[in-house]
Protein backbone atom coordinates (compact mmCIF):
# COMPACT_ATOMS: atom_id res chain seq x y z
CA UNK A 1 0.00 0.00 0.00
CA UNK A 2 1.76 3.09 -1.16
CA UNK A 3 0.48 6.60 -1.22
CA UNK A 4 1.67 9.88 -2.66
CA UNK A 5 1.13 12.77 -0.31
CA UNK A 6 1.31 16.20 -1.87
CA UNK A 7 2.39 18.88 0.57
CA UNK A 8 0.01 21.79 0.18
CA UNK A 9 1.44 25.26 0.54
CA UNK A 10 0.70 26.84 3.86
CA UNK A 11 -1.18 29.95 3.10
CA UNK A 12 -3.89 32.17 4.30
CA UNK A 13 -5.95 31.16 1.26
CA UNK A 14 -7.84 28.11 2.37
CA UNK A 15 -7.72 29.13 6.04
CA UNK A 16 -9.38 32.42 5.13
CA UNK A 17 -11.97 30.43 3.22
CA UNK A 18 -12.65 28.24 6.23
CA UNK A 19 -12.94 31.27 8.52
CA UNK A 20 -15.32 32.95 6.07
CA UNK A 21 -17.39 29.79 5.74
CA UNK A 22 -17.56 29.48 9.52
CA UNK A 23 -18.58 33.12 9.80
CA UNK A 24 -21.28 32.58 7.18
CA UNK A 25 -22.50 29.49 9.01
CA UNK A 26 -22.72 31.42 12.29
CA UNK A 27 -24.55 34.26 10.53
CA UNK A 28 -26.97 31.82 8.93
CA UNK A 29 -27.58 30.10 12.28
CA UNK A 30 -28.13 33.42 14.03
CA UNK A 31 -30.48 34.58 11.26
CA UNK A 32 -32.45 31.33 11.50
CA UNK A 33 -32.76 31.59 15.27
CA UNK A 34 -33.78 35.23 15.09
CA UNK A 35 -36.36 34.53 12.39
CA UNK A 36 -37.82 31.55 14.20
CA UNK A 37 -37.75 32.83 17.74
CA UNK A 38 -37.59 36.60 17.45
CA UNK A 39 -40.55 38.64 18.64
CA UNK A 40 -41.94 41.42 16.57
CA UNK A 41 -41.68 44.86 18.04
CA UNK A 42 -45.30 45.67 18.64
CA UNK A 43 -45.67 49.33 17.91
CA UNK A 44 -49.27 50.12 18.79
CA UNK A 45 -50.76 52.42 16.26
CA UNK A 46 -53.63 54.53 17.48
CA UNK A 47 -56.83 55.25 15.65
CA UNK A 48 -57.31 58.51 13.80
CA UNK A 49 -59.91 59.70 16.31
CA UNK A 50 -57.54 59.02 19.21
CA UNK A 51 -54.77 61.16 20.63
CA UNK A 52 -51.68 59.86 22.39
CA UNK A 53 -51.58 60.99 26.01
CA UNK A 54 -47.82 60.70 26.13
CA UNK A 55 -46.79 62.47 22.94
CA UNK A 56 -49.59 64.59 21.60
CA UNK A 57 -50.84 66.51 24.64
CA UNK A 58 -49.54 69.89 25.69
CA UNK A 59 -48.01 70.22 29.14
CA UNK A 60 -51.19 71.72 30.57
CA UNK A 61 -53.32 69.01 28.98
CA UNK A 62 -51.10 66.31 30.38
CA UNK A 63 -51.48 67.83 33.83
CA UNK A 64 -55.26 67.99 33.57
CA UNK A 65 -55.45 64.47 32.12
CA UNK A 66 -53.39 63.01 34.96
CA UNK A 67 -55.44 64.88 37.56
CA UNK A 68 -58.63 63.60 35.95
CA UNK A 69 -57.46 59.99 36.23
CA UNK A 70 -56.64 60.51 39.90
CA UNK A 71 -59.89 62.35 40.50
CA UNK A 72 -61.82 59.56 38.79
CA UNK A 73 -60.72 57.16 41.52
CA UNK A 74 -62.03 59.60 44.13
CA UNK A 75 -65.26 60.07 42.23
CA UNK A 76 -65.78 56.35 42.02
CA UNK A 77 -65.22 56.02 45.76
CA UNK A 78 -67.58 58.87 46.55
CA UNK A 79 -70.21 57.30 44.31
CA UNK A 80 -69.91 54.01 46.16
CA UNK A 81 -70.30 55.78 49.50
CA UNK A 82 -73.20 58.09 48.65
CA UNK A 83 -74.82 56.17 45.80
CA UNK A 84 -74.97 59.23 43.53
CA UNK A 85 -72.49 61.11 41.38
CA UNK A 86 -70.72 63.87 43.34
CA UNK A 87 -71.38 67.44 42.32
CA UNK A 88 -68.68 69.51 40.73
CA UNK A 89 -69.03 72.03 43.55
CA UNK A 90 -68.48 69.39 46.23
CA UNK A 91 -65.45 68.08 44.36
CA UNK A 92 -64.07 71.61 44.28
CA UNK A 93 -64.72 72.00 47.96
CA UNK A 94 -62.70 68.92 48.67
CA UNK A 95 -59.84 70.61 46.84
CA UNK A 96 -59.66 67.89 44.21
CA UNK A 97 -57.84 68.98 41.07
CA UNK A 98 -58.72 69.70 38.33
CA UNK A 99 -62.15 70.69 39.71
CA UNK A 100 -60.78 73.11 42.28
CA UNK A 101 -60.09 76.58 41.00
CA UNK A 102 -56.62 77.68 41.97
CA UNK A 103 -53.48 79.16 40.46
CA UNK A 104 -52.49 76.00 38.66
CA UNK A 105 -55.94 75.40 37.20
CA UNK A 106 -55.90 78.96 35.88
CA UNK A 107 -52.50 78.49 34.30
CA UNK A 108 -53.76 75.27 32.71
CA UNK A 109 -56.57 76.94 30.86
CA UNK A 110 -59.06 77.68 33.65
CA UNK A 111 -61.48 74.90 32.81
CA UNK A 112 -65.08 75.42 33.73
CA UNK A 113 -66.42 72.09 34.97
CA UNK A 114 -70.00 70.94 34.82
CA UNK A 115 -71.86 67.67 35.27
CA UNK A 116 -73.72 66.37 32.24
CA UNK A 117 -76.76 64.29 33.04
CA UNK A 118 -75.79 61.85 30.31
CA UNK A 119 -73.00 60.70 32.64
CA UNK A 120 -69.93 62.84 32.13
CA UNK A 121 -67.97 65.74 33.53
CA UNK A 122 -67.26 68.44 30.97
CA UNK A 123 -64.45 70.92 31.50
CA UNK A 124 -64.61 73.81 29.07
CA UNK A 125 -61.33 75.48 28.48
CA UNK A 126 -61.14 79.25 28.76
CA UNK A 127 -57.92 79.40 26.82
CA UNK A 128 -57.81 76.90 23.98
CA UNK A 129 -54.24 77.91 23.13
CA UNK A 130 -53.05 76.42 26.46
CA UNK A 131 -55.33 73.41 26.69
CA UNK A 132 -58.39 71.96 24.99
CA UNK A 133 -61.70 71.12 26.61
CA UNK A 134 -61.99 67.81 28.47
CA UNK A 135 -64.77 65.33 28.76
CA UNK A 136 -64.60 62.67 31.49
CA UNK A 137 -67.18 59.98 30.77
CA UNK A 138 -67.97 58.03 33.93
CA UNK A 139 -68.68 54.44 32.98
CA UNK A 140 -71.82 52.71 34.17
CA UNK A 141 -69.92 49.84 35.77
CA UNK A 142 -67.77 50.71 38.74
CA UNK A 143 -64.76 48.67 37.67
CA UNK A 144 -64.37 50.08 34.17
CA UNK A 145 -61.72 52.58 33.26
CA UNK A 146 -62.30 56.27 32.85
CA UNK A 147 -62.89 57.49 29.33
CA UNK A 148 -61.38 60.90 28.63
CA UNK A 149 -61.98 62.90 25.49
CA UNK A 150 -60.39 66.10 24.32
CA UNK A 151 -61.48 68.82 22.00
CA UNK A 152 -59.24 71.68 21.00
CA UNK A 153 -61.42 74.02 19.03
CA UNK A 154 -62.93 77.00 20.78
CA UNK A 155 -66.58 76.00 20.28
CA UNK A 156 -66.63 73.17 22.89
CA UNK A 157 -70.29 72.60 22.37
CA UNK A 158 -71.90 70.51 25.08
CA UNK A 159 -72.24 67.06 23.58
CA UNK A 160 -75.73 65.63 23.40
CA UNK A 161 -74.73 62.08 22.87
CA UNK A 162 -71.81 60.37 24.66
CA UNK A 163 -71.58 57.51 22.17
CA UNK A 164 -68.13 57.42 20.60
CA UNK A 165 -69.52 57.76 17.07
CA UNK A 166 -71.35 60.91 17.96
CA UNK A 167 -68.35 62.35 19.82
CA UNK A 168 -66.07 61.64 16.87
CA UNK A 169 -68.53 63.28 14.54
CA UNK A 170 -68.63 66.31 16.81
CA UNK A 171 -64.83 66.63 16.68
CA UNK A 172 -63.82 65.08 20.02
CA UNK A 173 -60.67 63.00 20.30
CA UNK A 174 -60.24 60.13 22.72
CA UNK A 175 -57.13 60.43 24.92
CA UNK A 176 -55.38 57.06 25.10
CA UNK A 177 -52.17 55.92 26.68
CA UNK A 178 -50.45 52.70 25.81
CA UNK A 179 -47.25 50.99 26.81
CA UNK A 180 -44.86 49.93 24.06
CA UNK A 181 -41.19 50.03 23.15
CA UNK A 182 -41.47 53.76 22.54
CA UNK A 183 -41.81 54.32 26.28
CA UNK A 184 -38.19 53.37 26.84
CA UNK A 185 -36.86 54.29 23.42
CA UNK A 186 -37.58 57.89 22.72
CA UNK A 187 -38.15 58.47 19.04
CA UNK A 188 -40.59 60.75 17.42
CA UNK A 189 -42.85 59.62 14.62
Amino acid sequence: MSRAQVIRPAGAGHETLYVLLTALLILALAATVVTLRGEREDEVSIESHQIDARRDLTAAEQGVFTDLLVAFDEIRQLREESGSMPEVASLAEEGLPPFVSDASSVSRGGHQWQWLAAGAYLGRSQDSAVAGSFLLIVPAQADERADVWLRRDTAAVVPDDLQPVALIAAGWQQVVSHYDAGVTRQHRH
Binding site: R3, A4, V6, R8, P9, A10, G11
Partner: protein, 249 residues
Amino acid sequence: MTAAANLSVAMGPRIEFASIDLTLGRTSILEQVSFSVAAGSVHAIVGPNGGGKSSLIKTLLGQMPHQGQLTLHWPGEHEVIGYVPQALEFDRGLPMTVDDFMAAMCQRRPAFLGLSRRVQPAIDAALARVGMLDKRKRRMGALSGGERQRVLLAQGLIPEPQLLVLDEPMSALDEAGIQVFEQLLHRWRQSGITVLWIEHDLEAVLRLADRVTGLSRKVLFDAPPAQALTPERLLGLFSVHPRSESLAR
Protein backbone atom coordinates in the same frame (compact mmCIF):
# COMPACT_ATOMS: atom_id res chain seq x y z
CA MET B 1 7.07 -10.55 12.90
CA THR B 2 9.78 -11.45 10.45
CA ALA B 3 12.71 -9.23 9.72
CA ALA B 4 11.45 -8.62 6.18
CA ALA B 5 8.05 -7.53 7.38
CA ASN B 6 9.65 -5.33 9.95
CA LEU B 7 11.76 -3.72 7.24
CA SER B 8 8.82 -3.09 4.93
CA VAL B 9 6.86 -1.41 7.73
CA ALA B 10 9.72 0.84 8.66
CA MET B 11 10.51 1.80 5.09
CA GLY B 12 10.64 5.55 4.67
CA PRO B 13 9.14 7.63 1.89
CA ARG B 14 10.69 9.00 -1.27
CA ILE B 15 10.56 12.78 -1.40
CA GLU B 16 10.17 14.63 -4.67
CA PHE B 17 10.91 18.35 -4.83
CA ALA B 18 9.80 19.65 -8.24
CA SER B 19 10.42 23.31 -9.14
CA ILE B 20 9.83 24.57 -5.63
CA ASP B 21 9.70 28.37 -5.46
CA LEU B 22 9.40 30.21 -2.19
CA THR B 23 9.06 33.97 -1.88
CA LEU B 24 8.45 35.64 1.45
CA GLY B 25 7.53 39.28 1.11
CA ARG B 26 9.72 40.33 -1.80
CA THR B 27 12.63 38.13 -0.83
CA SER B 28 13.14 35.10 -2.96
CA ILE B 29 14.19 32.28 -0.64
CA LEU B 30 14.09 29.30 -2.98
CA GLU B 31 14.20 29.30 -6.75
CA GLN B 32 13.30 26.30 -8.86
CA VAL B 33 14.54 23.78 -6.33
CA SER B 34 14.28 20.31 -7.85
CA PHE B 35 15.79 17.16 -6.45
CA SER B 36 14.60 13.95 -4.95
CA VAL B 37 15.40 12.08 -1.77
CA ALA B 38 15.53 8.34 -2.29
CA ALA B 39 13.48 6.15 0.01
CA GLY B 40 15.44 4.91 2.99
CA SER B 41 18.50 7.06 2.29
CA VAL B 42 20.37 9.54 4.44
CA HIS B 43 20.22 12.74 2.45
CA ALA B 44 22.22 15.74 3.59
CA ILE B 45 21.62 19.35 2.66
CA VAL B 46 24.53 21.73 2.90
CA GLY B 47 24.83 25.38 2.11
CA PRO B 48 25.62 28.80 3.50
CA ASN B 49 23.55 30.53 6.16
CA GLY B 50 20.47 32.11 4.64
CA GLY B 51 20.66 29.68 1.74
CA GLY B 52 17.14 28.46 2.37
CA LYS B 53 17.91 25.14 4.09
CA SER B 54 15.61 25.63 7.05
CA SER B 55 12.97 27.14 4.78
CA LEU B 56 13.13 24.05 2.61
CA ILE B 57 12.45 21.91 5.66
CA LYS B 58 9.58 24.10 6.77
CA THR B 59 8.22 23.77 3.25
CA LEU B 60 8.44 20.01 3.57
CA LEU B 61 6.54 20.21 6.86
CA GLY B 62 3.81 22.21 5.17
CA GLN B 63 4.49 25.50 6.89
CA MET B 64 5.49 27.66 3.94
CA PRO B 65 3.47 29.17 1.10
CA HIS B 66 5.56 27.55 -1.62
CA GLN B 67 4.90 27.09 -5.28
CA GLY B 68 5.68 23.94 -7.17
CA GLN B 69 5.06 20.30 -6.50
CA LEU B 70 6.30 18.64 -3.32
CA THR B 71 5.35 15.00 -3.00
CA LEU B 72 6.01 12.34 -0.41
CA HIS B 73 5.68 8.80 -1.77
CA TRP B 74 4.89 6.65 1.25
CA PRO B 75 5.49 2.95 0.72
CA GLY B 76 3.65 1.67 3.80
CA GLU B 77 0.69 2.56 5.93
CA HIS B 78 2.77 4.19 8.64
CA GLU B 79 3.26 7.84 7.81
CA VAL B 80 5.08 9.41 10.73
CA ILE B 81 7.44 12.34 10.30
CA GLY B 82 9.91 13.02 13.09
CA TYR B 83 11.32 16.53 13.32
CA VAL B 84 14.30 17.67 15.32
CA PRO B 85 14.61 21.46 15.34
CA GLN B 86 17.87 23.34 15.39
CA ALA B 87 17.29 24.68 18.89
CA LEU B 88 14.53 25.10 21.37
CA GLU B 89 13.64 28.57 22.54
CA PHE B 90 12.35 28.73 26.10
CA ASP B 91 13.03 30.51 29.34
CA ARG B 92 15.94 28.93 31.16
CA GLY B 93 14.14 29.24 34.49
CA LEU B 94 11.11 27.32 33.26
CA PRO B 95 10.43 24.53 35.80
CA MET B 96 10.12 21.86 33.12
CA THR B 97 12.03 18.62 33.55
CA VAL B 98 13.15 16.36 30.74
CA ASP B 99 10.28 14.05 31.58
CA ASP B 100 7.80 16.93 31.44
CA PHE B 101 9.13 17.91 28.05
CA MET B 102 8.90 14.38 26.69
CA ALA B 103 5.39 14.04 28.10
CA ALA B 104 4.34 17.32 26.53
CA MET B 105 5.69 16.23 23.16
CA CYS B 106 4.58 12.60 23.12
CA GLN B 107 1.28 12.23 24.92
CA ARG B 108 -2.14 13.79 24.89
CA ARG B 109 -2.49 13.76 28.64
CA PRO B 110 -1.33 17.02 30.27
CA ALA B 111 2.31 16.79 31.29
CA PHE B 112 1.65 17.80 34.91
CA LEU B 113 -0.31 14.56 35.38
CA GLY B 114 2.87 12.62 34.75
CA LEU B 115 3.90 10.23 32.00
CA SER B 116 1.15 8.20 30.42
CA ARG B 117 1.64 4.47 30.91
CA ARG B 118 1.17 3.93 27.19
CA VAL B 119 4.11 6.05 26.05
CA GLN B 120 6.32 5.50 29.10
CA PRO B 121 8.24 2.52 27.60
CA ALA B 122 8.84 4.44 24.36
CA ILE B 123 10.08 7.49 26.25
CA ASP B 124 12.33 5.32 28.43
CA ALA B 125 13.78 3.66 25.33
CA ALA B 126 14.30 6.96 23.49
CA LEU B 127 16.01 8.59 26.47
CA ALA B 128 18.16 5.51 26.90
CA ARG B 129 19.14 5.61 23.25
CA VAL B 130 20.42 9.18 23.52
CA GLY B 131 21.97 8.49 26.94
CA MET B 132 19.78 10.87 28.93
CA LEU B 133 18.01 8.31 31.08
CA ASP B 134 19.86 9.31 34.25
CA LYS B 135 19.14 13.02 33.72
CA ARG B 136 15.42 12.73 33.14
CA LYS B 137 14.51 14.55 36.34
CA ARG B 138 16.72 17.53 35.53
CA ARG B 139 15.28 20.85 34.49
CA MET B 140 15.50 21.50 30.75
CA GLY B 141 17.04 24.89 31.51
CA ALA B 142 19.79 23.30 33.59
CA LEU B 143 20.98 21.04 30.77
CA SER B 144 23.93 21.92 28.59
CA GLY B 145 23.30 22.72 24.95
CA GLY B 146 24.45 19.29 23.89
CA GLU B 147 22.25 17.53 26.39
CA ARG B 148 19.26 19.57 25.32
CA GLN B 149 19.95 18.63 21.72
CA ARG B 150 19.94 14.97 22.74
CA VAL B 151 16.53 15.39 24.36
CA LEU B 152 15.31 16.98 21.13
CA LEU B 153 16.66 13.95 19.26
CA ALA B 154 14.88 11.60 21.66
CA GLN B 155 11.63 13.50 21.12
CA GLY B 156 11.97 12.93 17.36
CA LEU B 157 12.04 9.17 17.91
CA ILE B 158 8.54 8.96 19.38
CA PRO B 159 6.44 7.65 17.79
CA GLU B 160 8.75 5.61 15.58
CA PRO B 161 9.12 7.83 12.47
CA GLN B 162 9.43 6.72 8.86
CA LEU B 163 10.83 10.07 7.82
CA LEU B 164 13.19 12.04 10.02
CA VAL B 165 13.85 15.69 9.37
CA LEU B 166 16.91 16.99 11.20
CA ASP B 167 17.85 20.66 11.29
CA GLU B 168 21.55 20.85 12.15
CA PRO B 169 21.40 18.24 14.92
CA MET B 170 25.14 18.14 15.40
CA SER B 171 25.83 21.85 15.80
CA ALA B 172 25.16 21.81 19.53
CA LEU B 173 26.19 18.24 20.25
CA ASP B 174 29.29 17.47 22.27
CA GLU B 175 31.73 14.68 21.44
CA ALA B 176 29.68 11.99 23.21
CA GLY B 177 26.50 13.31 21.68
CA ILE B 178 27.97 13.11 18.20
CA GLN B 179 28.74 9.44 18.79
CA VAL B 180 25.20 8.86 19.97
CA PHE B 181 23.92 10.63 16.87
CA GLU B 182 26.09 8.55 14.56
CA GLN B 183 24.80 5.36 16.15
CA LEU B 184 21.24 6.57 15.68
CA LEU B 185 21.94 7.44 12.06
CA HIS B 186 23.33 3.97 11.54
CA ARG B 187 20.18 2.41 13.01
CA TRP B 188 17.89 4.55 10.91
CA ARG B 189 19.75 3.59 7.77
CA GLN B 190 19.45 -0.09 8.71
CA SER B 191 15.73 0.08 9.34
CA GLY B 192 15.14 1.94 6.08
CA ILE B 193 14.07 5.27 7.51
CA THR B 194 14.44 8.22 5.18
CA VAL B 195 16.56 10.91 6.81
CA LEU B 196 16.68 14.47 5.53
CA TRP B 197 19.53 16.12 7.31
CA ILE B 198 20.78 19.71 7.28
CA GLU B 199 24.42 19.81 8.28
CA HIS B 200 27.31 22.22 8.46
CA ASP B 201 29.94 19.66 9.26
CA LEU B 202 31.05 18.62 5.79
CA GLU B 203 33.34 15.92 7.14
CA ALA B 204 30.37 14.26 8.84
CA VAL B 205 28.34 14.56 5.65
CA LEU B 206 31.11 12.92 3.64
CA ARG B 207 31.28 10.10 6.14
CA LEU B 208 27.60 9.51 6.94
CA ALA B 209 25.37 10.69 4.09
CA ASP B 210 24.28 8.72 1.02
CA ARG B 211 23.71 11.79 -1.04
CA VAL B 212 24.21 15.49 -0.57
CA THR B 213 22.49 18.53 -2.02
CA GLY B 214 24.14 21.94 -2.05
CA LEU B 215 21.53 24.59 -1.56
CA SER B 216 21.98 28.33 -1.83
CA ARG B 217 18.65 29.62 -3.06
CA LYS B 218 19.04 27.21 -5.97
CA VAL B 219 20.25 23.65 -6.06
CA LEU B 220 23.95 23.96 -6.84
CA PHE B 221 24.74 20.27 -6.82
CA ASP B 222 23.05 17.00 -5.99
CA ALA B 223 25.35 14.00 -5.94
CA PRO B 224 26.90 11.38 -3.66
CA PRO B 225 29.16 13.12 -1.14
CA ALA B 226 32.38 11.78 -2.57
CA GLN B 227 31.67 13.44 -5.91
CA ALA B 228 29.91 16.50 -4.59
CA LEU B 229 32.21 17.68 -1.87
CA THR B 230 35.11 18.78 -4.02
CA PRO B 231 36.96 21.96 -3.07
CA GLU B 232 35.86 23.70 -6.23
CA ARG B 233 32.17 23.03 -5.67
CA LEU B 234 32.37 23.97 -2.01
CA LEU B 235 34.08 27.23 -2.85
CA GLY B 236 31.26 27.96 -5.23
CA LEU B 237 28.64 26.99 -2.70
CA PHE B 238 29.95 29.17 0.06
CA SER B 239 30.97 32.15 -2.06
CA VAL B 240 28.87 35.27 -1.98
CA HIS B 241 27.77 34.95 -5.61
CA PRO B 242 27.16 31.27 -6.28
CA ARG B 243 28.23 30.31 -9.78
CA SER B 244 25.72 27.58 -10.37
CA GLU B 245 26.25 27.61 -14.15
CA SER B 246 29.85 26.57 -13.95
CA LEU B 247 29.04 24.01 -11.27
CA ALA B 248 26.09 22.40 -12.92
CA ARG B 249 28.08 19.66 -14.59
